[in-house]
């Protein structure tokens, strides 16, 4: 009798572990409709439903404010043990955490689930610019930093600015002398590049596909660990060129800190299945995203390291004290 109960309990526990299914699953995009986080939520929600990983459609909620900080605070303070919630994230999240922009909250206040795709940083000039290679650009840049205005789609201290500063540091240009011009999004920065108002554009590979195909810009280098595919196949990585700079714009998720373990494991498993599916490969391809997979405990370590790295970098580059 006793062994029967024990067996039943074990079976129940086991099945509970294996069979957590979310009820009314929800994905929070911590910014408005149409942005990168919104895309991450909506595309993953669609693929999870297509693969029947979730029993009903995942609701996508846009929570705006504070560059994702409002959603972060909301999750930590009000939904800290919700098993049905995942939240879209990217290096924009870790940069802000590192710079202390999410008020008192840190990267330890949530549980990091994983990243399943990535965009990569790049540096481009106008097609008729005098610089044919990164080395040529760096030479003029070093000679007179005041003559080169670099534009990007983020504010000072944001991702595009960090890319420029990292490149400058690797090339031996004093960060203080770098002229960075912030724009409202990559599209405006790009318009300014084509108009000749800025000389260099720092952005992401997915933003520039149309212009590269049209031949209106010249990409001097990508900030990826290895060469990208498609229209970027012939563009060298900065590492190849001798500049030790990478900027991986991973697309991933975090979850509430006190989410039950079986729920956490469910979401990690579901994301892994999404990442390996041909449906996801198609989404990546349509949106010019590269392959990137880092899930569960490994991702947690990755985030810890990245936030620390960004923190010391921001301090070193004079963005925070």
């Amino acid at each position: 009798m006793r062994w029967l109960i024990t067996a039943l309990l074990v079976a129940l526990a086991g099945s509970g572990l294996a069979q957590f299914t979310p009820r009314n699953p929800e994905c929070i995009a911590p910014a408005g409709a149409g942005g990168g986080w919104d895309f991450t939520c909506r595309s993953v929600a669609q693929v999870m439903l297509d693969l029947k990983l979730i029993p009903q459609p995942m609701k996508v909620t846009n929570v705006t404010g504070g560059g994702g900080g409002v959603a972060y605070a909301n999750v930590v303070t009000q939904r800290n043990n919700d098993p049905n919630l995942i939240v879209a994230a990217s290096p924009a999240t870790t940069v802000r955490l590192a710079q202390g922009q999410y008020s008192r909250f840190t990267e330890r206040d949530v549980r990091w689930l994983g990243a399943i795709a990535a965009d990569f940083g790049l540096v481009a000039v106008k097609a008729d610019a005098p610089w044919r290679t990164m080395q040529e650009l760096v030479a003029s840049w070093k000679a007179d930093p005041a003559k080169i205005a670099v534009g990007g789609g983020s504010a000072v201290g944001g991702q595009d600015h960090m890319k420029v500063l990292l490149l400058g540091r690797a090339a031996g240009i004093e960060p203080r002398n770098i002229k960075y011009v912030p724009f409202d999004g990559g599209g405006e920065a790009l318009t300014s590049l084509l108009g000749g108002f800025i000389q260099v554009f720092a952005g992401d590979a997915s933003e520039l596909r149309a212009q590269v195909q049209a031949g209106t810009v010249r990409v001097l280098g990508v900030m990826a660990p290895r060469r990208l595919e498609g229209v970027y196949a012939n563009i060298p990585t900065l590492r190849e060129l001798g500049y030790n700079v990478e900027w991986v714009v991973w697309r991933g998720f975090y979850a509430p800190k006190n989410m039950p373990t079986e729920a956490y494991e469910f979401w990690v498993r579901a994301l892994r299945q999404v990442e390996r599916s041909p449906e996801w490969a198609r989404v990546r391809e349509q949106n010019a995203l590269g392959k990137f997979s880092m899930l569960g405990a490994e991702f947690q370590v990755f985030i810890d390291r990245q936030v620390n790295q960004f923190r010391s970098l921001s301090r070193e580059l004079g963005i925070i004290r």
């Binding site: 404010g65 504070g66 205005a149 504010a155 318009t191 084509l194």
Partner: protein, 501 residues
């Protein structure tokens, strides 16, 4: 001849049953989004993008649907502005000034019809412009750098007195308040939070829609509560039809505002709201004091409504010809097109003619559909005014609140809206005009960021602001606009003097 042939092929695409249905759907959804305050075209388009994927629509059909929502929203935005003094879209704030006064005079019907006709003519003209001058005008978008934008914003401010009403100083104070609001949030140049008092929700700055609904709609309810005594002037049903004479006297305004709206719409970052402000203030200047703009003149409705529709067509030019998104909405459309395997850019007219020409043809159809849809709705909407105001105004306010909350899920927005409602109420009581606050807010941010971009690029050389022909032309226009009231006043006085003799 080439264009005609291409357009004919385009109509072949646009008139295919599926695409015709999608134009209808897009225009209908767009009108609805426009009518409902709180939900803008950007959220409407973003929410329907997944639908185009789910329905496995070909790229031309997807674009036809999304564009329909975009320009359809411009039609609907005027409705609540005119009837209730609650702007349905950010680009219809100016419409409320004359539109609602007309409604109070029992001319809501003609005002709504004027908005529909102005939108139709401007929309059609801007498609014509897109079709014939698109690639040429794309260069215009690129020529606008920080110095040119700064000069454009100065020009915008130089027309301010047109919004002033009776007291210029009160208008200046209201604009100053708007400028102050524009500085709240993360400083784009240094990344440091300004005037947020540690409130994270303020870091993204003041949302134009939240401020507009608070100032106009919430304060409208407060004023109504106070004046509910019988005898208070309420908007009335009155006349429904627009007379031919009124239409003809507004035709010049419609045509001029279409050109202004189209040119400003092409500029990335400027957009329909600025276009409607500039068109209205320019008309007020041009028509002089004889026209009663600001007190309830149909031309005060025709100008902003024509301009915002023309701007929607203009905004498609950098998207289609250069692959550059000029606004949030067109950025989403670009993303959707790329996902469907179409890369907008200089060769798109050659590589995907069915997409470009299909879209252009569908916009001719769509504008006609919107006119046919909106004119009969005028009668219906005007009858809304016979619903008792104690029910109608709070109901519309509730819908706006739900709209804003549903889009951002940020309860702080609602609080902020309430605060601006109180501010708006006090301003009304003290006879301060409300529209200049929004002008300051929308122009102030662009003015600051572009001045600072210009200074960074030029290493602090102020001469950079006057270094291009476009910038110089805009400075001259600004100067002319500042001086014109003096000149007009002098001429007017002389004219009056002669009459007395």
């Amino acid at each position: 001849m080439d264009i005609l042939q291409a357009l004919l092929n385009g109509f072949g695409v646009a008139l295919a049953p599926v695409n015709l249905l999608l134009v209808l759907l897009g225009c209908l959804v767009g009108t609805l989004i426009g009518v409902l305050p709180g939900i803008g075209p950007i959220s409407g388009v973003a929410l329907l993008v997944p639908l185009t994927f789910a329905l496995k629509l070909p790229p031309e059909s997807a674009l036809i649907l999304l564009a329909g929502i975009y320009y359809g929203a411009m039609y609907g935005g005027s409705t609540t502005s005119i009837l209730l003094n609650i702007p349905g879209e950010t680009s219809s704030v100016v419409t409320a000034i004359d539109g609602h006064k007309l409604a109070k005079q029992g001319k809501a019907g003609p005002a709504l019809a004027m908005a529909a006709w102005g939108s139709f003519i401007a929309g059609t003209l801007s498609v014509l412009g897109l079709m014939t001058l698109g690639p040429l005008l794309a260069q215009w978008a690129i020529r606008f750098g920080p110095a040119e934008y700064f000069a454009l914003m100065v020009f915008g401010f130089s027309t301010l007195s047109a919004l002033a009403g009776k007291n210029l100083f009160k208008a200046l104070a209201a604009t100053g308040f708007g400028l102050m609001l524009a500085t709240v949030g993360q400083d784009p140049q240094s990344g440091i939070a300004r005037y947020t008092f540690g409130v994270m929700q303020l870091e993204d700055g003041m949302d134009f829609l939240v401020v507009a609904i608070g100032l106009f709609a919430v304060s409208e309810v407060l004023v109504f509560l106070e004046e509910k005594a019988p005898g208070a002037v309420q908007a009335q049903v009155g006349r429904i039809y627009l007379s031919l004479r009124d239409f003809l006297s507004s035709l010049g305004t419609i045509l001029r505002s279409s050109v202004i709206g189209f040119l400003i719409g092409i500029l990335p970052g400027a957009g329909a709201s600025i276009a409607s402000f500039v068109a209205y203030t320019t008309e007020k200047r041009l028509l002089g004091p004889k026209a009663r703009l600001g007190e309830g003149d149909l031309r005060g409705v025709a100008a902003p409504e024509s301009a915002n529709n023309a701007a929607a067509g203009g905004a498609l030019i950098p998207l289609l010809t250069l692959g550059l998104p000029g606004s949030g909405t067109t950025a989403i459309m670009l993303g959707a097109l790329m996902s469907l395997g179409v890369t907008p850019g200089p060769q798109m007219f050659q590589t995907h003619p069915q997409v470009v020409w299909g879209l252009i043809a569908s916009m001719y159809v769509g504008n006609a559909v919107l006119l046919l849809l909106n004119l009969p709705l005028v009668g219906l909407f005007v009858r809304l005014l016979s619903v008792p105001a104690w029910f109608l105004i709070p109901a519309v306010l509730a819908i706006s609140l739900i709209g804003v909350y549903a889009v951002n899920n940020n309860p702080f927005d609602l609080l902020l809206m309430a605060v601006f409602g109180l501010v708006g109420y006090l301003m009304r009581k003290l006879d301060f005009p409300l529209a200049p606050v929004l002008l300051g807010l929308v122009l102030g941010y662009l003015m600051e960021i572009n001045l600072r971009r210009a200074m960074t690029i030029s290493n602090g050389d102020i001469g950079y602001l006057f270094s291009s022909p476009i910038a110089i032309a805009l400075w001259l226009l600004a100067g002319l606009s500042l001086l014109s009231p003096l000149i007009i006043a002098r001429i007017g006085k002389r004219g009056l003097g002669n009459e007395e003799v």
